[in-house]
């Protein structure tokens, strides 16, 4: 039989070389993570040889006050900064979608800057900025985290604005006019048409921003002080004294949280994909 130059998707699945490549790809992608999780249960100080199963490093994580407070800091920063940037992102998206104003085109491009600027530059600029304006060193928690929260808002809100805006572009003006025609006032149009319509995008972007904030290292490293250590920064400082199963355990916990978020997101989105 003459082989066709073009494969159909079914043909691709039958191609054995392609199967091998896919398997190798998946292994290289997930093996290190799997390795990390497995060795978090290793009953040994070092991560080289398997010496039996234990959960003592998880206990150690929870007993380690510094680690736990870093973890709590990370969660607090992620939660507060994501809430703020979701509100900012939503309003930015609606403004850019609904209104025309002077220099709008350039504002559109400026919105991309925090995404394309290298994180290291962003981190240093934040450091310089907070020094320049003499941002006070707060003593009371969670005000100690305020500068990190501001830095996180500034790099996560463009993601939220862009995701919500791309959803809004498929909501045409006629739909809003139909709402008006059916008796809804402006507040009801926002509450009953715009918000329910962008809800999947809000959820998706909220979780994306949350994970971005939770595992951010570079920007946080430059903005955190002695009283505001986050989990990724703490892990980094622990790694400098050698990798113990304790780090594996912390990382595993972090991965579990993120997997949980993603799972929730996918379930939510697949429930809503009937629309549009």
């Amino acid at each position: 039989m003459k082989k066709s130059l073009f494969y159909s998707p079914i043909d691709y699945a039958r191609n054995k070389y392609l199967k091998y490549i896919t398997i190798i790809f998946l292994i290289t992608l997930y093996l290190p993570i799997l390795n990390l999780i497995i060795f978090s249960f290793n009953d040994s100080k070092r991560n080289i040889l398997w010496r039996g199963f234990t959960t003592k490093y998880y206990n150690k994580v929870f007993e380690n006050d510094v680690l736990f407070s870093a973890f709590l800091n990370s969660l607090t920063i992620a939660t507060i900064s994501t809430i703020i940037s979701t509100i900012l992102g939503l309003t930015t998206a609606i403004t850019l979608w609904k209104f025309n104003f002077y220099l709008k085109k350039y504002y559109d491009i400026a919105l991309l800057f925090p995404i394309i600027i290298p994180e290291i530059c962003m981190g240093i600029s934040m450091l310089v900025f907070f020094n320049f304006i003499h941002w006070p060193n707060f003593e009371i928690w969670p005000l100690t985290l305020s500068n990190i929260i501001i830095a996180h808002v500034s790099f996560t809100f463009p993601f939220i604005a862009i995701i919500i805006r791309s959803r809004l572009t498929i909501l045409n003006n006629d739909t809003l006019e139909a709402g008006l025609d059916l008796g809804a006032n402006n507040i009801q149009i926002i509450r009953l048409i715009i918000l329910p319509f962008v809800k999947p995008a809000i959820t998706a972007s909220f979780l994306l921003a949350f994970t971005l904030s939770l595992d951010d290292f570079v920007i946080t490293f430059f903005t955190s002080g002695p009283n505001s250590i986050t989990l990724p920064v703490k892990i980094y400082s622990m790694v400098r004294f050698g990798i113990t199963p304790e780090i594996n355990a912390v990382s595993t916990l972090l991965i579990l949280i993120l997997i949980f978020c993603t799972f929730f997101l996918i379930r939510y989105l697949s429930k809503n994909n009937k629309e549009v």
Binding site: L182, G183, K199, E275
Partner: protein, 362 residues
């Protein structure tokens, strides 16, 4: 006529978009329970009039009176009208039931009444089995029905329809036209439709207004608009017509139209004719003569067939007269064996009744 109630009264309505005058000093009235159609080429301002009535645009000048109440400054969400959009504009995040209920819930109508009305509407549009579907799962015709249902479930006095059938294919469009007419008659609502489709306007409306460049040229009942138009533009826009150029001369109390094609045509003395008027004759009013006898009140002519378009039931032919002028004739294909006469190159005799002539103002 004065005892009839007007549903919509437009007075000197004007709307300007930047440099274009979209609606230019338009005044007309729509009676209750009418199926009123605004017909015009695209960009003539017909949709803008509808949007002004709905309150989605604000007029620069003029008044809009709906059911005797001046609504000129009333916001769109308080006006007693509902609109069916060209794009349907269904809410993509709501299912069919929620889409239809939207207006009723906003107006805080009680649950039992909402359920009753939605049930009625679902039967009317025959879409009961689709209530849990989303707009994206429906076909164009079904979305059209839902959009209509969402408007009429509110029981507005006036339903505004902005080219509602333009996205449907030909057969579905004809079905929907009949359905629209039936719904309008059954519910006794005033329907105001905007279209650029002449056949649609003629077949569904009780009254037609023809627009050009932001002005209403003429408004009349559908039959009168076709049979007795008074403006050249409306005669040419609604259906086909042969325009007979010429001038009027008053000879010894006899008005004579000196035409280039048919020579002198005697007109009735008692009718008022503007000096720059032309005459027109609809192509289907001209019949092919097979005998050469003299007929009273008929204008006769002779020419060669230069074009023949066959439509099955009808033939549209163009004949060229001896003076090189062309006229269009629509012939019904009553007999199979007479089709031979219409072939290109054949010579035909044709005639029409003087009473079918239309006097048109330029």
């Amino acid at each position: 006529m004065s005892d009839k109630k007007f549903c919509i009264e437009l007075k000197n309505l004007t709307k300007r978009f930047e440099n274009t005058l979209a609606v230019d000093d338009v005044s007309f009235n729509v009676e209750e329970n009418e199926f009123f159609t605004i017909l015009g080429p695209s960009g003539c301002g017909k949709s803008t009039i509808l949007r002004l009535i709905a309150g989605l645009e604000v007029q620069d000048q003029g008044e809009i009176i709906i059911n005797g109440i001046d609504c000129s400054k009333m916001p769109a969400n308080e006006r007693p009208v509902n609109m069916v959009f060209q794009s349907y504009a269904l809410f993509p995040h709501l299912n069919i039931k929620d889409n239809i209920e939207f207006g009723l819930k906003i107006k805080k109508i009680d649950e039992i009444e909402i359920k009753k009305r939605v049930d009625e509407i679902l039967d009317l549009i025959k879409m009961r089995s689709y209530i849990n579907k989303y707009p994206s799962e429906l076909s164009g015709g079904q979305r059209q029905r839902v959009a209509l249902a969402r408007a009429i479930v509110n029981k507005p006095k006036i339903v505004l329809l902005d080219e509602p059938l333009s996205a449907l294919d030909a057969n579905l469009r004809i079905d929907m036209q009949r359905e629209l007419v039936n719904i309008q008659r059954n519910l006794e609502m005033t329907f105001m439709l905007v279209t650029h489709d002449q056949d649609e306007a003629l077949s569904i409306s009780s009254k037609i207004a023809i627009m050009e460049n932001g002005k209403v040229i003429e408004a009349n009942t559908a039959t009168n608009m076709y049979e007795y138009p008074s403006k050249k533009f409306s005669a040419e826009f609604l259906g086909r017509i042969n325009i007979i150029d010429g001038y009027i001369s008053n000879n010894d109390n006899q008005k004579i139209f000196k035409s280039e094609i048919f020579g002198d045509i005697n007109l009735q003395n008692d009718i008022d004719i503007p000096q720059d008027a032309v005459l027109g004759i609809r192509p289907e009013k001209i019949i092919i003569e097979r005998s050469s006898k003299n007929l009273e009140n008929r204008i006769k002519t002779k020419g060669t067939v230069i074009d023949w378009t066959y439509y099955g039931d009808m033939s549209y032919i163009t004949i060229e007269l001896n003076n090189k002028k062309k006229i269009y004739i629509h012939v019904q294909n009553i007999h199979r064996n007479t089709l031979q006469e219409l072939k290109i190159g054949k010579t035909l005799r044709a005639s029409f009744d003087i009473n079918d002539l239309i006097i048109l103002e330029k």
